[in-house]
């Protein structure tokens, strides 16, 4: 059997195996292939309506994706507005930015965000979350301690009240006791009231009135805690329960004994909140905010998803159980993000094969474009690439300068690396001075290959020509941009994530290209004079 036949047969075998596996998986899991259902899975819909004026803008919150609450799916719809989803569901800037579509008329609009969320039940009896990272990382020194708008923690009246509450019968060295005393005050002495005005009530006003809505009471509790030097913050979200049109809920977290301790004055919960508390945001910023919009209204719709085909009581098939167990949806959120990147890498590699063996482009380093493309696929590719290329070019100028020192190779590359890192640090400092964030465009792993690329760029320039090195740079960038674009397609990520066996198809493609002996696209250009021989000079027809 010829090698090519062997290759084609292997590729066919691989593809049919992975297709078979996909079929099995989808028949065993049904709809659940795309997102798991069952206890703890909820669909939350946030609908926002209003009247848009020119240059309108809308920001809506997104549930945080953490180990305790996993966002399985997020979709955004609107006829009048375009949506720009957040890059990362964890972090400060996790908001969807909506702006009017190019051709749509101003006026009434509606936007709808749908989230599929799975809540993971925490172990009972736990006083506070045990996690110490991400959302639950300890506050930086001074963080969540100072006074801010509507939380007047250093106002005299707040101070007096806090001191008065913790004076008697309280061990002032024990922060848990202090927190408890302050919580009881707010919970018992400050009356709960409903407010319909849009202006939020501040902590101080709430204390003076002796009453406030759930948000104001939380602000007061935060102010009192901060006044007693306990880092505290407001948490916004929903308390999930069946029933339409839920209101945003507020509760408080205080950093006591090295842990974030949750407390909810509204439902009289101290120490921990129910596992149905879904966190949308940390802080006092409204969940929906807008610019140049009037009559803004919003509401949440909460639905519990229960699988109709198999109620939890009924025993599941073993195949179904197996596929459920190995489903990537079951992984914790940090692992899921890693798996996503790992799954995209072979696709990037396949694209590199296509570029090099079918099209015939060349690049600095075989898989450098794949790495760059992958690094920029979840960012806005363009600014990231511009930063990347400018660092590369500045690095190249530095390399030319360094050449006059005649350093040995390894120390020279080390010096280059130091220079590039210094350049990056100064870039970060400068962008901070200008008030922009560059850091999200700089991720560590393309930076490491950057030094190697500078060296290759310089070598090619000196050995061949500046033209040749810029040509190769351009081809590298072209490949990276296309790879970044393809990898950013959400359907592709979804497909790979729901059916990881798609990698079999990817590998089949790689095998087939591995025995492709036809011409590369660029060779048609390279050998053009042989295809259409030019007439020699002086030739007369």
């Amino acid at each position: 059997m010829s090698r090519t036949t062997l290759c084609v047969l292997t590729a066919l075998g691989l593809s049919s195996l992975s297709l078979l596996f996909m079929l099995l998986r989808s028949s065993a899991l049904g709809e659940e292939v795309h997102a798991p259902r069952g206890p703890g899975t909820w669909r939350i819909t946030l609908v926002v309506e209003g009247k848009a004026r020119s240059r309108a803008k809308l920001w809506t919150a997104v549930p945080l994706d953490t180990d305790r609450q996993r966002v399985l799916d997020a979709q955004y719809f609107s006829d009048q507005f375009t949506s720009k989803p957040p890059h990362n569901l964890l972090g400060e800037q996790h908001r969807v930015v909506w702006s009017p579509k190019q051709n749509s008329e101003l006026g009434r609009f509606q936007t709808r965000s749908e989230f599929l969320v799975k809540l993971v039940r925490s172990r009972t009896g736990e006083l506070a979350t045990q996690e110490r990272t991400g959302l639950h990382a300890p506050p930086r020194p001074g963080e969540y301690l100072s006074s801010e708008e509507r939380i007047e923690s250093d106002h005299d009246r707040v101070s007096d009240k806090a001191r008065e509450l913790t004076e008697e019968g309280i061990d002032n060295a024990n922060q848990l006791d202090i927190a408890q005393a302050l919580f009881h005050f707010v919970e018992q002495r400050i009356h709960n009231e409903l407010r319909f005005q849009n202006t939020p009530l501040s902590a101080l006003a709430c204390l003076e009135r002796g009453a406030g809505d759930r948000a104001a009471r939380c602000r007061l509790l935060v102010a009192l805690l901060r006044n007693r030097n306990i880092p505290a913050r407001m948490v916004q979200g929903l308390t999930l329960s069946r029933g339409p049109e839920q209101m945003p809920h507020y509760w408080v977290e205080a950093f006591v004994h090295d842990h974030w301790l949750a407390m909810c004055p509204t439902y009289r919960l101290f120490g921990r909140v129910n596992s149905t508390y879904l966190i949308f945001a940390i802080g006092d910023r409204p969940l929906v905010s807008s610019r140049n919009v009037s009559d803004l209204q919003y509401a949440f719709l909460v639905e519990r998803l229960v699988d109709k085909d198999s109620p939890p009581a009924q025993k599941e098939y073993s195949a179904r159980r197996l596929f459920k167990a190995i489903s990537l949806h079951e992984l914790p959120s940090s692992d899921r993000r890693l798996v996503e990147v790992l799954l995209l890498m072979p696709v990037a590699a396949l694209l590199v094969c296509i570029f090099r063996n079918l099209i015939g482009l060349s690049s600095f380093g075989t898989f450098a474009p794949a790495l760059i493309g992958l690094a920029f696929h979840d960012l806005n590719s363009l600014p990231g690439l511009v930063v990347f290329v400018s660092i590369l070019l500045v690095g190249w100028l530095m390399r030319r300068f360094l050449d006059s020192y005649h350093l040995l190779q390894v120390p020279r590359v080390a010096t280059m690396l130091t220079l590039i890192m210094a350049l990056l640090v100064s870039l970060i400092v400068l962008s901070h001075l200008w008030g922009t964030t560059t850091t999200r465009y700089i991720s560590l792993f393309p930076i490491v290959i950057l030094t190697g690329m500078v060296e290759r760029f310089w070598t090619l320039e000196t050995e061949d020509s500046t033209y040749a090195s810029f040509k190769t740079l351009l081809q590298t960038l072209l490949m990276s941009v296309v790879i970044a674009f393809v990898l950013s397609q959400s359907w592709l990520i979804h497909q790979l994530f729901c059916y990881p066996e798609t990698l079999g198809l990817v590998m089949a493609g790689q095998l087939l290209i591995g025995r492709y002996t036809g011409y590369r696209l660029t060779e048609l250009f390279r050998f053009r004079d042989l295809i259409y021989p030019p007439q020699p000079p002086g030739y007369v027809a």
């Binding site: 005649h406 061949d464 025995r515 011409y519 048609l524 390279r526 050998f527 004079d529 042989l530 030019p534």
Partner: protein
């Protein structure tokens, strides 16, 4: 789209060997990986040639460590001309040609003056692997400088032309003469602006010439015709290429030969992944030649000492006749 398909079909008709096919069907299938060090390591190749009796440029010294650089003046002695090259370099990278000596230093082929420290720096770059395949640490060779053969005087600019022969299963398949130009800086590399002239295998005369993949008839610097030039010692060149190819054991190989004014043809280096530009230089594709060699070697009638009355399949016979006509 249609144009692309038409172009690809035309290339196939012309028998142009593409990069993918070269790699998959010739290099991967005919060149065992364990023979690669023989061609990548110039010192090993030189020793192999010595054992075969194939002439190569003399190696004056091999620099293997930084410590040796201190004694560089002693190593160079009073030599006026020499070539420094990386042992495992490729495509002429890192080659330094010294053509004379002044009180101020060493004179390069482009008249640039180099101090002994510059030579040391260059050698240390070579040792650290700057020019070697894959950036591995390397050694440096100090080699005899080849003198320009009188037949090439009119068609080369400040450098030595070399002859690349591609051999398939130890049979010469195609050859070209590479001529240095002002643009290529005295190097005979095609992608740097050197001239590639296809050489007829049977006569040793150039029949087609290109620079930057475009057809030319005269040398751009000297103005002399580059077509119809007769390569001296042609049969010897073919003979020594065959010898070296057989000894190395690679099925698809490029052999570079230079012709010295005094010593005649010298084997310069061999290449396990010879490029495809030779097809442009010759104005024809490699595939018919390769297929003809396959047909010739696999056809029973041509096997030595064997007579057969078997009918021969038409296609190989046609191909064999084709190559016979071609070489006449």
């Amino acid at each position: 789209m249609f144009w692309l398909l038409k172009a690809a079909r035309r290339l196939r008709e012309l028998g142009i060997l593409g990069m993918n096919r070269r790699n998959a069907a010739y290099i991967l299938d005919h060149n065992p990986r364990d023979r690669f060090p023989l061609v990548d390591d110039k010192m090993r190749l030189t020793r192999l040639c010595q054992s075969l009796g194939v002439p190569t440029p003399l190696v004056y010294a091999e620099i293997t460590s930084y410590a040796q650089l201190r004694h560089l003046p002693k190593v160079l002695g009073c030599r006026e001309e020499f070539v420094i090259k990386p042992n495992r370099g490729s495509a002429g990278r890192g080659v330094l040609v010294i053509i004379g000596r002044d009180p101020q230093g060493y004179r390069r082929h482009n008249q640039q003056l180099l101090h002994i420290d510059d030579l040391r720096q260059h050698l240390s770059d070579i040792l650290s692997g700057m020019y070697s395949l894959g950036g591995q640490p390397d050694t440096a060779l100090i080699q005899q400088r080849v003198r320009l053969h009188p037949s090439f005087e009119s068609i080369s600019y400040k450098g030595i032309p070399d002859i690349r022969v591609i051999l398939y299963r130890n049979q010469p398949a195609m050859a070209m003469l590479r001529l240095p130009t002002r643009e290529s800086g005295g190097r005979a590399n095609l992608h740097q602006g050197g001239i590639g002239a296809g050489v007829d295998l049977s006569t040793g005369r150039t029949h087609h010439a290109v620079q930057h993949n475009r057809l030319i008839q005269h040398h751009p610097d000297t103005g002399r015709p580059v077509l119809g030039v007769c390569v001296p010692c042609w049969n010897e060149i073919l003979q020594l290429s065959r010898q070296v190819s057989a000894a190395i054991g690679l099925g698809y190989i490029g052999v570079d030969v230079v012709v010295d004014a005094e010593y005649g043809p010298l084997l310069l280096e061999a290449n396990a992944r010879p490029g495809l530009a030779i097809q442009i230089a010759n104005g024809r594709g490699l595939l018919p030649q390769l297929q003809a060699i396959d047909a010739r070697l696999d056809s029973p009638i041509l096997e030595v000492g064997q007579t057969t009355t078997q009918s021969i399949p038409t296609a190989p016979q046609d191909a064999a006749v084709l190559v016979a006509a071609d070489s006449r």
